[in-house]
Structure formats: structure tokens, C-alpha cells
């Protein structure tokens, strides 16, 4: 009975949640009050420009840095004081992994594997062979792409319930990237692994993510299902004479040289576009994920 209650509790708790997260480096704000929670089993793609604060957000979410304000929780526990149980359920792959350069790939996997109760040594071995990584080569002597792959193997072999990947495909070739995405999708679909990954590559998001969160200048500008974006957001173009009718709430606003206005607008709670979209001469264009990203980020 107790075990059942515990299971129910664990299922209800968000694997990863932050509230009011704020952080700054050398006086400049990197995160300005971020709220975000991941549903169990979801695959959330975190997208944003360079320097938007993605890595900082991920590091703060996992308790790898102390934020100036706000709270981060992993499986309901404070991120900065995680229990061994919570740590055993999560895996994180940083951008450009550099750890333990003095060990060989095999030694590193052997060393780390001893700490994880559900470590899949067979998977680690087969992945090393599949990705043609010499097990006895020092990590320092591997290429950046190979090191990233070894770290991905390390993360996946621990069979995590929560997988956090910071720009996982940055150093991978297209084949390895496709294989990684397939593995992530497989884990999420079959084992119900919750995945958070940051990327610049919009096509990667479209391939595996169920949701996207867009981080811009330390703020979370939007969060929605990947399939919803085309339905929910659009580009509204207003000719110069109608620019005064532009809605005040928009995700981006750009005035062209001829005085016309382009805005990224969102449907309201009743599924309606802003009134200005109904005006004669106004134009509403559907947007792909990449267009949406570029419009907002510019």
C-alpha cells in the first residue's frame, strides 16, 4: 500500500520545475524570473539565441549553480540538495563535455556506472562499438564529437527517468545527430523518460519535441506544443494607415521602411485572433517554427 502511494506521489510530482528563477553574471541579468515545469514523459525543447540563458537555466534547474533568487526542484526535491535517489533517476549531458579527460572511454563508463543502480553495461558496450569509439583511448585524445557521444552513452546507460541535454547535437555529424534523436524519441515513447534539451536547430525540435519553450534575454517568451505553434501563432501585417490599430500585446513588433507593421500575434483564450486581423487590408500569415523563432529573436 505504501509503495503504491509512493508511486502515485512520484508520478504526480513534476520531474523538473522552477519558479521565479533569477540570475546574473557580472552585473548583467541572464535569467529574469523564469517559471517552468516539465510534465512526466514530455519532451521539452528549449530554444533561444546564443547567450539567451539556456545553459544557465539548465544548470540552475539541476542545482549546478546557486541562482540569485527563485526555486528549482527535481522530482520534488530542492535542486541544490538532491538525494541519491533523485540523482540516480536523472542524467545530464553538458554542452562540450570535458570531464575526466585522463580516463579512457571504458574507464570512465566503468567508474560512473558503479554509482548508478540501474546501469546498463551492455548498452554502454554496444553503443561504443556502434559509434566506433575506441574504448581504450583517453578521453583527452578523442575529438569533440566523440567525447559528446561518450557522454551521451554515459547518460543513456544510467537509464534515467529524466534526461537533460544541453545542446546535445552541437558537435555531432548529421548521422550521429539523427541516431541520437531517434534514441531520445525511443526513450520517451517506450520508457516514458522525461527529456529536456536545448538547441538552436529547429528541425531537431520538430523531430522529437512534444513541447517547446522559447527563452529570450533571460525570459520565457512562449511555451506550447510543437504541433500547436502553427495554429496558435501567426504573423499579422498591417499597412501603414492601419498601424495605429495594432494590438498592444504581441510577441514581436517590427516596423518596415514603408511604415507598415509586422507583429507576431497569438490567439486569445477563446481561440480568436486580435481584432486588427479582421480589418480590411490586414494580412495574417501562418508561420513555421523556424519563422516564429526568427521573428521573435530578431
Amino acid at each position: 500500500m505504501n509503495a503504491m502511494l509512493k508511486d502515485t506521489d512520484q508520478a504526480a510530482v513534476a520531474p523538473l520545475a522552477v519558479r521565479g528563477l533569477m540570475h546574473c553574471y557580472e552585473g548583467s541579468n541572464v535569467l529574469t524570473g523564469v517559471d517552468l515545469a516539465l510534465e512526466p514523459g514530455s519532451v521539452l525543447g528549449l530554444i533561444g539565441r546564443n547567450g539567451a540563458g539556456k545553459s544557465t537555466l539548465i544548470r540552475a534547474m539541476l542545482g549546478l549553480l546557486e541562482p540569485l533568487a527563485g526555486e528549482a526542484r527535481v522530482f520534488g526535491e530542492p535542486a541544490l540538495k538532491l538525494s541519491d535517489d533523485a540523482k540516480a533517476r536523472l542524467a545530464y549531458v553538458p554542452q562540450q563535455p570535458e570531464a575526466l579527460a585522463w580516463l579512457t572511454a571504458q574507464q570512465m563508463l566503468d567508474y560512473v556506472g558503479r554509482f548508478y543502480p540501474r546501469w546498463d553495461a551492455g548498452f554502454a558496450k554496444s553503443m561504443l562499438e556502434r559509434w566506433k569509439i575506441a574504448p581504450n583511448k583517453l578521453l583527452a585524445k578523442l575529438s569533440p564529437g566523440e567525447r559528446q557521444r561518450v557522454d551521451l552513452i554515459r547518460a543513456l546507460a544510467s537509464q534515467p527517468e529524466l534526461l537533460v541535454l544541453d545542446e546535445p547535437a552541437a558537435a555531432l555529424d548529421p548521422v550521429a545527430r539523427r541516431e541520437l534523436l531517434r534514441e531520445v524519441a525511443l526513450r520517451a515513447g517506450e520508457s516514458g523518460t522525461t527529456v529536456l534539451f536545448s538547441t538552436h536547430i529547429v528541425s531537431d525540435l520538430e523531430r522529437v519535441a512534444s513541447e517547446i519553450a522559447f527563452l529570450h534575454q533571460g525570459r520565457l517568451l512562449l511555451r506550447c506544443g510543437v504541433d500547436e505553434t502553427k495554429e496558435r501563432y501567426a504573423r499579422l501585417w498591417l499597412p501603414p494607415r492601419m498601424s495605429a490599430a495594432a494590438p498592444s500585446a504581441s510577441l514581436s513588433r517590427r516596423r518596415h521602411d514603408d511604415g507598415s507593421l509586422s507583429l507576431v500575434v497569438e490567439r486569445d483564450a477563446h481561440g480568436q485572433w486580435p481584432e486588427a486581423a479582421q480589418l480590411a487590408g490586414a494580412r495574417l500569415d501562418a508561420m513555421g517554427l523556424e519563422d516564429l523563432f526568427v521573428e521573435i529573436a530578431e
Partner: protein
């Protein structure tokens, strides 16, 4: 072309931090050389010119390694980035430095001596510069030649007329030799520009190795330099980890693996291999000291006695102690200077227990070098008291010096995971100061000088007291702040970068 820009060009190849250190070192060296030169001129004006030329030769050799040779790195970048104007400026800069450091001093000294020796003196200086440049562009494994250079000079002195000899004899061999060296430099330079393999692996020039593997980058947060170092090291020189006994139940041993370097547990074979390579290095050093002695002093026995003499033995142990402390600190600074490496792995690694247990285990792992340091201190004091019959002030100074090395390691082991004093040059300066003071004090406490009981002299005692206070006070503050910081941190694996 702006001559100031041409003068500044080689300095641009170094990082800002290295450049400042190099500049300070250059100014200091030039000031000392000028002072010595002035004193020499007043005391022996007759034979001042040849001595000054010898001094300039040595300065040029050092200068062309440290200052002028980096032009080659710039040339490499200019070639890769297709910047022809920069390439032209580099050649002009090289010419300007040759003019200012070889031709002008050679001719001035020659004229000062009446003009007869101008060619020989200029050639001598050119030889020094070419030796420096050749050392910088040669593959780094040829650096061993530098270690045997005193022996070479002594040996060559028996059958080659050196600069002090009458000029014609010197000119006969030095002129073609200098020309050959410059041709060799030109060939290496051109090869490095056009053949990528000439700048990699075993063939990598000493200069390129120095850029990433210098003392400053080792003491700083040069974490990438460490990875590069491991990648460049031959496999048989890599320490092999012993993972036996690592795992959730063995926190200290497991953390030692993650700290790497000197902290890492090694297999027996690896330990033996490291010991053997260290021993081979020491044996080589001893050999190089013995060989010139056998010809120059006539008796290797006196050198052997010096090598085995108790004062020098104690000094060597003291130096090893300080190196252990500095190496341990440098290693910890690198670990806590990188956000995406060992710290994130350790912070999320299950099985390390709660934060208090982890902090305790981490301190035990990081303070492990204290064991050999304590053992060496015990040997130092025992030899000083029983063999050298050291007096009270000497023993106190020796204890202070060895204790300070351990205190430095302790303070920084608290301060680094405690999140204080990582960035900036102040901590590095404090470590360098501590290292120099500890070794200078050890040397002062030993009967290496004519006067005995140096620390007991009032002026020396006051100077030592002030020097030690200026080290121990900030060190204590750092340790205390580190202790508080570490206690307050939710876990010890928060990066300081």
C-alpha cells in the same frame, strides 16, 4: 610601417596574462643587466666590451626565445588567415629586432673597443640570438640540449676557440655555424608555414608547447591546457588509474579519481613506471652535473659530495614539498574553474551521501598530499637537527617554511571548493609568493652560505618576520573565508567560473 607597431608585434602572440608576466620579467632582467653593466664599466673599463658582449649574447638568447620567436606564431596565423600585410610586417619586425638586438649593440661595443673586434663581437651576439631562436623553433624533444649546454660549452672550450679567445680563431668556426643556424631556422619556419604536420605531435616546436604549457597557465585556471597536455603526452607517460575499490562505499577513493592528476589512485605498474621515469630524469640531471665537473674541476667526487651533501639534500626536499603544494592547488583550481566538466558530473552522481559527508570526503581526498609533505618535513627537521646540528632559529625557519607549504595547500583546499578567491591574479600572486618565500627561507636556514646563523641576524630576522606575516595573514583569512564558504554551500561541487 610604424616602428612601434613592429616592436609590439611579437608581444601580441602571447595571452594578456603571460604578456604582463613576460614584460615584468624583461624589465627586471634589463634593469639588473644595466646595473651590472654600469658597475662593470666603472670597475674594469679596459675589458668591459667583451664582458658586456657576453652579457648581451645571453640576454639575446633568452630574448629571442621569449620575445622575438613568437613572431613565428603570428606568421602562422597570418598565413592561415591569408593576411599578406601582416606577413610583411612580421618580416619587417624580425629585421628590426635583428638590427636593434644584434647589429647595433655589436657595432657600438666594437667601436668602444677601438673597432678591431666589431665583427667578432657582432658575430658572438648573432650566435646567441640564433641559438635562442633555433631552440624556440626546434622540436620540443630537442630541449634536452638546453640542459646539457653547460657541459657542451665546457667540452667545446677544449678544442674550439670561444669568444674570449683571439678573434680570428673564433670567427673561423662561429661565422659558418651562425649562418647554418639561421638557414636551419629559415627552413623550420618555412616548413611550419607550409606543412601542418610540422606543428603537431612530436615535431611541435618548443615555442608552441611553451605557449600552452607555461607556469602561468598551470597556476591559473588553464583547464584546456591540461586536456591538451594529456592529449600531447605519449601513452607510456600517462598515469593509469586504479579503479579498484571505487564506488558508492568508497567516497575518498572515488573522489580522488575525479580530482585526477596527483590525487588519482594509480595501478602498481603505473606507479612503478612514473617512479622509474622520475628516477631517470634525476639520474640524467646528476649525469649532466657530473660530466662537466669531471673535466672542469678534475674530480667528480666533489660534485657527488655536493649532490649527496646534507644541506642540499634538505633544500631539494623543501623544494619538492613546495612543488607538491603548488601542484595540488593548481589541480584544484582547474577543477573548480570549469563548469561543464567534473563538477557537474560529481554534483549529480548518486552514492556520494549527503552534503556533509561529501564535503568531509572531498577534504580528505584533496588534502592527501599532506601525508608525503608531513613525512618530508619530518626528514628535513631530522637531518637538520641530527646531521647539520642546526640551531634554534634555523630549525624554526625550516619548520615555518615547510609548515607554510602545508598551510597553503590547506587554505586553498578550503577556499577553492568554498567559492572564494578563484579568479584574478591575487591568488596566483599569493601562491607564487608563498612558493618563493618558503624556498628562500629553507635556503637561508641551511649552511649554504659563508655566514652561519643567517636568520639570527637582526636585519634578516626583521625582514623574514615581515615577509612571513605578509604571507600568513592573507593565507589565514583566505582559509577562514573558505571554511565559512564551504560550510554554507549546499554542496561542494558548485563551479566558481
Amino acid at each position: 610601417m610604424n616602428p612601434w607597431r613592429l616592436m609590439a608585434l611579437p608581444w601580441m602572440a602571447w595571452s594578456k596574462a603571460t604578456r604582463s608576466v613576460l614584460l615584468a620579467f624583461t624589465v627586471l632582467l634589463l634593469a639588473l643587466a644595466s646595473g651590472a653593466s654600469l658597475v662593470g664599466y666603472h670597475r674594469h673599463p679596459a675589458d668591459w666590451a667583451p664582458h658586456a658582449a657576453a652579457g648581451i649574447t645571453i640576454l639575446d638568447a633568452i630574448g629571442w626565445v621569449g620575445i622575438v620567436s613568437p613572431l613565428m606564431l603570428l606568421a602562422l596565423e597570418a598565413h592561415r588567415l591569408r593576411l599578406p600585410r601582416l606577413s610583411r610586417e612580421i618580416h619587417a619586425s624580425l629585421g628590426l629586432y635583428a638590427l636593434l638586438t644584434i647589429l647595433v649593440p655589436g657595432l657600438l661595443l666594437g667601436l668602444q673597443g677601438g673597432g678591431d673586434d666589431a665583427a667578432a663581437l657582432t658575430l658572438q651576439i648573432a650566435l646567441g640570438a640564433s641559438l635562442g631562436m633555433a631552440y624556440a623553433v626546434a622540436p620540443s624533444y630537442l630541449g634536452i640540449v638546453l640542459a646539457v649546454s653547460p657541459m657542451l660549452v665546457n667540452a667545446l672550450g677544449h678544442w674550439l676557440p670561444l669568444p674570449a679567445a683571439p678573434a680570428p680563431g673564433f670567427l673561423v668556426w662561429a661565422a659558418p655555424c651562425t649562418l647554418a643556424l639561421w638557414l636551419l631556422i629559415g627552413w623550420r619556419w618555412s616548413r611550419m608555414l607550409h606543412d601542418e604536420h610540422a606543428t603537431q605531435g612530436r615535431d611541435m616546436p618548443t615555442l608552441m608547447r611553451l605557449r600552452t604549457n607555461n607556469l602561468w597557465s598551470r597556476l591559473g585556471n588553464g583547464a584546456n591546457a591540461e586536456t591538451r597536455q594529456i592529449a600531447q603526452r605519449a601513452n607510456w607517460l600517462q598515469p593509469a588509474v586504479d579503479l579498484h575499490g571505487c564506488g558508492p562505499g568508497q567516497l575518498v577513493r572515488s573522489l580522488r579519481v575525479a580530482l585526477g592528476g596527483w590525487f588519482m589512485p594509480q595501478t602498481l605498474v603505473s606507479r612503478l613506471r612514473m617512479f622509474a621515469s622520475g628516477l631517470a630524469g634525476v639520474a640524467l640531471g646528476v649525469l649532466f652535473m657530473l660530466l662537466p665537473a669531471s673535466s672542469a674541476r678534475g674530480s667528480a667526487a666533489s660534485v657527488l659530495s655536493d649532490l649527496g651533501g646534507a644541506p642540499l639534500f634538505v633544500l631539494y626536499l623543501g623544494i619538492v614539498n613546495s612543488i607538491l603544494a603548488v601542484a595540488g592547488i593548481a589541480q584544484l583550481r582547474r577543477r573548480w574553474g570549469r563548469a561543464n566538466a567534473e563538477l557537474s558530473l560529481l554534483a549529480l552522481l548518486p552514492g556520494l551521501g549527503d552534503a556533509t559527508q561529501t564535503k568531509r570526503a572531498l577534504l580528505r581526498a584533496a588534502l592527501r598530499p599532506l601525508r608525503p609533505m608531513l613525512a618530508m618535513t619530518a626528514v628535513v627537521i631530522t637531518v637538520a637537527v641530527w646531521r647539520l646540528h642546526a640551531h634554534g632559529p634555523d630549525v624554526v625557519l625550516l619548520l615555518l617554511a615547510q609548515g607554510a607549504c602545508m598551510a597553503m595547500l590547506l587554505a586553498l583546499t578550503l577556499a577553492i571548493p568554498g567559492g572564494v578567491a578563484i579568479r584574478g591574479w591575487r591568488t596566483t600572486a599569493l601562491i607564487v609568493y608563498g612558493y618563493l618565500l618558503a624556498n628562500a627561507s629553507t635556503a637561508l636556514a641551511l649552511p649554504l652560505f659563508d655566514q652561519g646563523l643567517v636568520p639570527a641576524m637582526p636585519a634578516v630576522a626583521v625582514a623574514l618576520a615581515v615577509s612571513w606575516a605578509s604571507l600568513l595573514v592573507p593565507l589565514s583569512m583566505l582559509g577562514l573565508r573558505g571554511w565559512r564558504g564551504l560550510r554554507q554551500r549546499p554542496h561542494p561541487f558548485l563551479a566558481n567560473a
